[in-house]
Symmetry: C2
Subunit: 293 residues, 2 copies
């Protein structure tokens, strides 16, 4: 089996790299914080590298799963970046959620060294990563995508090519735009139902049958009403993603008025101390705004 | 079987009354426009009345399905209104979408005459009415609700009691609040995907698997992208419903910022000539706003 270097062993990357080890791929891992790297190693018994470049040496595939544009650029193109170690003909697969511009910039820079690139952001959250059931939206050349499928299917339930480099990131943005509006309207609806003193369970029993139904309504209404906001994907990260959406939307002339407003509401949630709460915590903001009696 | 008077033979009421006739209930119908009443009669062969009061005479159940608060008040409490003909002990079931205040006002007025009242707005649209598969959200006393069930189940797939009078209307508002935000965010997402020149079919294949999924995405994305906006429930009626939501929200102190914004966008759609288009036509507004090249 092809050798893999995996950079970024966080909440998402850690279990994804673990699935590859369990599937039998020879894998070398790297993580910026050594503590997290060692915790991962003690669980999966695979070798660690000291730098991205060291991890990349002799790898056929290099997979990244980091936080922001600057993190990705550093880990790939920085002074000890993976690009310095990676052999010609190798392919980089990036699972980070970053800007489409950064994906295109990295693809172009790697191409000069004879290295292929796929942008491949994921959805499905921590639970999806742990169960190996992620959805993966891929941008890049079709033949390279085909070659990557046996790897991506190790932790991807749905793996689809969206178009050229950058289109994986843009597809992820489409996903986040939908989620932002759905969650705010669900929060408005549940806050309204609470203030109206309705039998909310009965209301949901009816409206989940019809045109108002959503994954979020099905999976988050009950926990929102209980004030449970520990489902994973945090408001701080959602704001990063919505920032990417709003920048790209400006560039391609696609106005996002509701998405922009919900981003502002997430800023309120951060101010309320909820940066680490999950994205369904928009209800807290409305509850906090209630008239004090 | 108990005799029924049915007032309002429109897109929704017509097929609902038809299902009751087919189920064997002795039914007398009334519609404000005589033309529509006669078309209905030639299909279902049930007697018509000249006035609401005449239809109501000797009915055990009186069912209304009209447009707005003023229509409901006129047909029940007006000079030839049904309240003048209805015997003591009868029950009025209202399937119109009106304000919770109007439902409470009518219930109180009818109670003085010994007549019961249930507010019972429906969702499921024209298709749901024709197939007898509506969702019905009911407000009113539990014993009266229980007695009404054999009638409501004739055209209701899901029939639930939400609480006291007015809570059926408030539950319907919860439904419309969710739909407004979902449709605008779906419109923003599809417009973004078009402007980004993504393979939208591939994008939807992935994101309908996860946290961005909704009934609207599943059932309306394709027709929105084709510019088909003839699915039934019209923007003009949605604006009526959102107006009810915003009024009630003000009264119960439940802010609806995104719902209010989407209502304004529907006003734009009306200005674009789309008052009769269905509610998924928010995409047209965004397409119209594109930079002319």
């Amino acid at each position: 089996m092809d050798s893999i270097a995996f950079l970024g062993l966080g909440t998402m990357g850690g279990p994804m790299a673990g699935h590859l080890v369990k599937a039998g791929f020879p894998l070398t891992a790297y993580n910026r914080s050594a503590e997290r790297a060692q915790a991962w190693q003690s669980r999966y018994q695979a070798p660690l590298a000291e730098t991205p470049a060291e991890a990349a040496a002799s790898a056929h595939w290099l997979i990244t799963c980091v936080g922001r544009d600057a993190d990705l650029e550093a880990v790939l193109l920085g002074s000890q970046g993976a690009a310095h170690g990676l052999p010609r003909g190798a392919t980089v697969i990036d699972h980070s959620t970053v800007s489409a511009n950064m994906a295109q910039h990295i693809a172009a820079t790697l191409a000069e060294r004879g290295i292929h690139f796929l942008d491949a952001p994921v959805s499905g959250g921590q639970a999806g990563a742990e169960r190996g059931q992620l959805s993966i939206m891929v941008g890049g050349p079709a033949p390279i995508f085909e070659q990557a499928l046996p790897i991506l299917r190790v932790y991807g339930k749905t793996v689809e090519r969206m178009g050229e480099v950058g289109s994986g990131q843009r597809a992820k943005m489409v996903n986040q735009i939908c989620i932002a509006g759905i969650l705010q309207s669900l929060a408005e609806a549940l806050n309204f139902a609470e203030q109206a003193e309705l039998d909310i369970e009965a209301v949901l029993k009816v409206i989940t049958q019809g045109a108002a139904a959503s994954w979020q309504m099905q999976n988050r209404s009950a926990s929102m009403l209980q004030g449970f906001y520990d489902h994973g994907f945090a408001v701080d990260w959602m704001r990063k993603d919505l920032g990417l959406c709003l920048d790209e939307a400006e560039r391609i002339q696609a106005p996002l008025p509701v998405t922009a407003l919900v981003d502002q509401f997430y800023a309120d949630v951060q101010n309320l101390g909820g940066g680490r709460w999950d994205t369904s915590s928009l209800l807290v903001r409305l509850q906090t705004l209630r008239k004090k009696s």
